[in-house]
Amino acid sequence: MYQFNYGYELLELTKKFNKPISEIVMLAEQERTGEDLEVIFEKMKKNLQVMREAINKGLNEDIKSVSGLSGGDAKKLYARIVIGNTLSCETMAKAAASALAVTEVNASMGRIVAAPTAGSSGVIPGALITVARKFGKNEDDMTKALFTASGIGIIIAKNATLAGAEGGCQAEVGSASAMAAGALVELMGGTPEQCLTAAAFAIMNLLGLVCDPVAGLVEIPCEKRNALGALNAMICADFAIAGMDSVIPFDEVVETMYRVGKAIPSALRETAEGGLAKTPTAMRLKKEIFEKEKRGD
């Protein structure tokens, strides 16, 4: 009764039952699994807690990735925010720092929520928790927004892909950004249509983004792209709430993302054989890490 494969089906359900996306997604989950709504809700709340813990850890502790390639940048940005010196406004800078924080925690073998993947785990917490804090939203509001995000993610997973190896970074950070954008719109009281419009804008803005991780590790440029994905989600949510139209409907944008992903050469789909991964510096870093592995340091 509540199942959906496409954005237009999800919107029809929200109209038919006069409920926001988050509730339709929860009911669909209940219908599929037979679990109590409360249990499903609490499980999602746990995800939110892990996201918040990761942000706090990344902003306040000295993080170093396992490879030594990255870490500590979230803390650096946070220090600028504290003294009020960032060029972006405080909300934007905080969202960026929070997204960075989660991805740095991920690279340092800390605990995160794959949202939808480990490589894009910073986008949703960065955008959602920062915006929720600014507007005084509570734990339940944020948990609901995570269901909205999941509903959008389910549609993308069904009709395109969430894997960088298949669709490039647009499939990971792009999808996460679309999920976050829709979640923000619902959090701020927007309509279901506006949620999907924001998600469509988010993918359109990141269409074609390649996956080219230095040394094959989810660090450079992935961490900074997570910050970009979080900010993109906020801008796109603003677009939709302001009443802008994406012109190309969400479902067609998702299909486009899949088609573009197929057209991206394999060297730019997580194989670390193209893009930034192929630069002289990246090759040197890869060799250094690789040799360290051989020596067993």
């Binding site: 494969n5 490879s67 929520v113 993947t117 949703i124 894997a163």
Partner: protein, 222 residues
């Protein structure tokens, strides 16, 4: 169209950095620990292809050892598994192989238990934290660890499958998937049964006593 749970999309909660190279590795080793079904004294991990090339950058080595210690992929002790294993007196070793493997992310785990048995288990991490077990003690198998799984070792002879499935039927357990694997006719064989319901311990004990059954273990979903 494939069905997804919201928690396939928003989740799992895991220790980073990689669902295939970290979370999947921990799950593989945790399944291996359950197959060994006894105190583990020593383990050697033989790493193939992508696992062999990138295991340190992804913390695959620590994740594998954490799984052998019984930790889940979201256990925050995972990065300290080397230290914890040393404290417990568990010996471990990592060997890089340049041989080909069934999948880019493949590991062979050679486990020695305190009762003197050796287990040789091959598995692959196939993406998103999902895994496939491919070999147990030289016998080819294939299962995911996502279901309640009963694994028997037995002598390949008539009647064994019927006897085992009768025990399960008597416990009102529905079999989701089932396969039998063997070295050679009349030799040692392995049966893997994945079920929709939890398999009670008493069923395992009854199965162990069936003539021709050498061992039976139950893996809860990992």
């Amino acid at each position: 169209m494939r069905e997804f749970s919201v928690f396939d999309i928003m989740g799992p909660i895991m220790i980073g950095p990689s669902s295939s190279h970290t979370a999947g590795a921990a799950r593989l080793a945790k399944i291996a620990r359950k197959i060994a079904d006894d105190e583990i004294k020593e383990v050697e991990f033989i790493l193939y292809e992508s696992f062999a090339r990138t295991y340190k950058g992804h913390g695959t080595d620590r994740a594998l050892l954490a799984g052998i210690l019984g930790f889940d992929p979201d256990d925050e002790r995972l990065p300290r598994s080397f230290e914890i294993a040393k404290e417990l007196g568990l010996k471990f070793k990592f060997t890089e192989s340049d041989k080909e493997a069934p999948h880019p992310n493949t590991v062979r785990m050679i486990i020695k238990t305190s009762d003197g048995k050796t287990y040789d288990i091959l598995g692959c991490s196939v993406g998103g934290g999902n895994v496939l077990l491919k070999e147990i003690n030289g016998i080819e198998v294939e299962f995911t660890g996502e279901y309640e799984t009963l694994i028997t070792t037995h002598i390949d002879k008539p009647g064994i499958v019927a006897a085992v499935t009768k025990v399960l039927a008597d416990c009102n357990i529905n079999i989701a998937f089932m396969r039998v694997y063997r070295h050679a006719k009349g030799d040692k064989a392995i049966m893997v049964i994945e079920s929709d319901q939890p398999i009670p311990e008493r069923a395992k004990e009854v199965i162990k006593n069936i003539d021709g059954i050498l061992n039976a273990i139950i893996l809860n979903p990992v």
